[in-house]
Symmetry: C2
Subunit: 218 residues, 2 copies
DNA sequence: TTGTTGATTTCGCAA
DNA sequence: TTGCGAAGTCAACAA
């Protein structure tokens, strides 16, 4: 990894055109050849960059980074304040926990949280417009489509509504009810869901994980 | 801006949990206090970070960065290979060109691409639930609402559907047809749109820009 | 402050 | 490879 602090201007021409006027910035060159330009403040993201795989041509005062797709990053350098290279080695990678997939998995193992006597038919139940997160049968064997979200938004209600509309065209399943389950449900989403006869359930991630952990103890 | 190259492990606890095992990485501290951790390869984005505003507590071998929302980034440092601080000053900011607004502008100037004899009524046609990108009249003077996207997704179809539903309540306009125009249209979005009687049109940005450029030549 | 929408979204998974 | 949906989405802008 190479770190350069320099007074520079940057132009990107590719999927769009972007221009950074002359100023002092950090230019970061990774081992895979990708180039990132960072300012000191403003957004925490890089204001300009070129994603790998890409090729770099360096001449005094001017860098040119070209992508396979014809995208181009051109850096004009007026003054270099710092330039150092460091050997970092490979990174073992990031482990994430607590995302939607995990939430879905936890709920699939605990469908009784939705109602006594409920059972899971299958996860990722396929339809023509995409998979339903959980398909269940309630205590009276009625079909229920469950949409799981980390944050329950209007989009999620729309998504579940589309599934329900489609599933209810199938005489073998109909009537299919809907449950919208999320860690947080925004008021607007809740209103819309309930207006459409969809039940809203707030999930407690820690409690669900706790139950799961308990289960593994015995 | 402070640059630290160090052998470290990183833990984030907040909206989710994430862990980076011990390895050599770049730790970048910006003037606003935000902290970014970069590996040398893999994804070109930062694998772990804390966005501003945040507060940093540094003790030998351990950093703790805390957010207002109770999110926490904990960096355990085993060995420091480099540590330097640089004064960058303020950044003038980024200028972009060629995004959706541009696409809409181009299509507005070339509504004949949608059909012979079509004319533009106006861009950003106002409704109670937001502006319709383009309102047109077709060859038979029928009203047509056009939604322009760079990537045509189901969300865009839903958006246009809401506009059409509202517009068709107005006897002075009704019937209003819909056109969904985008550089790329995803199959599921196309299915949904056509199921609702909305015409899908794929836009060729380069060709549209080319025509525009030609136009300026004469 | 809150909500909405676009993004060079990026990223990961699965068909 | 391509398609599709989630993201600690982020960030800009309007209400």
């Amino acid at each position: 990894m190479r770190l350069v602090i320099a007074r520079c201007s940057v132009d990107y021409v590719g999927r769009l055109s972007a221009h950074l006027p002359m100023a002092t910035r950090l230019i970061l060159v990774k081992a895979d050849g990708s180039v990132l330009v960072h300012s000191d403040g403003g957004s925490y993201q890089q204001p300009n960059w070129m994603s790998p795989p890409c090729r770099q041509e360096e001449s005094p005062g001017s860098w040119r980074v070209v992508n396979k797709g014809g995208e181009e990053l051109r850096i004009t350098i007026e003054d270099v304040l710092h330039d150092s290279t460091h050997e970092l080695g490979i990174d073992p990678g990031l482990k994430k926990d607590g995302v939607e997939a995990h939430l879905q998995e936890l709920l699939a193992a605990q469908v009784h949280l939705l109602g006594m006597g409920w059972r899971l038919v299958r996860r990722e139940y396929p339809t023509a417009i995409g998979p339903v997160d959980l398909m269940c049968r309630d205590e009276g064997s009625g079909a229920v489509a469950v949409e799981v979200k980390r944050r329950g938004d209007i989009d999620g209600v729309e998504q579940l509504t589309r599934y329900l509309e489609l599933l209810n065209r199938d005489p073998a399943l109909s009537p299919v009810r809907g449950v919208f389950a999320a860690q947080e449900i925004r008021p607007q989403a809740r209103v819309l869901a309930e207006d459409r006869g969809i039940r809203c359930v707030t999930l407690n991630y820690d409690a669900m994980r706790g139950i799961e952990l308990e289960g593994t103890l015995f």
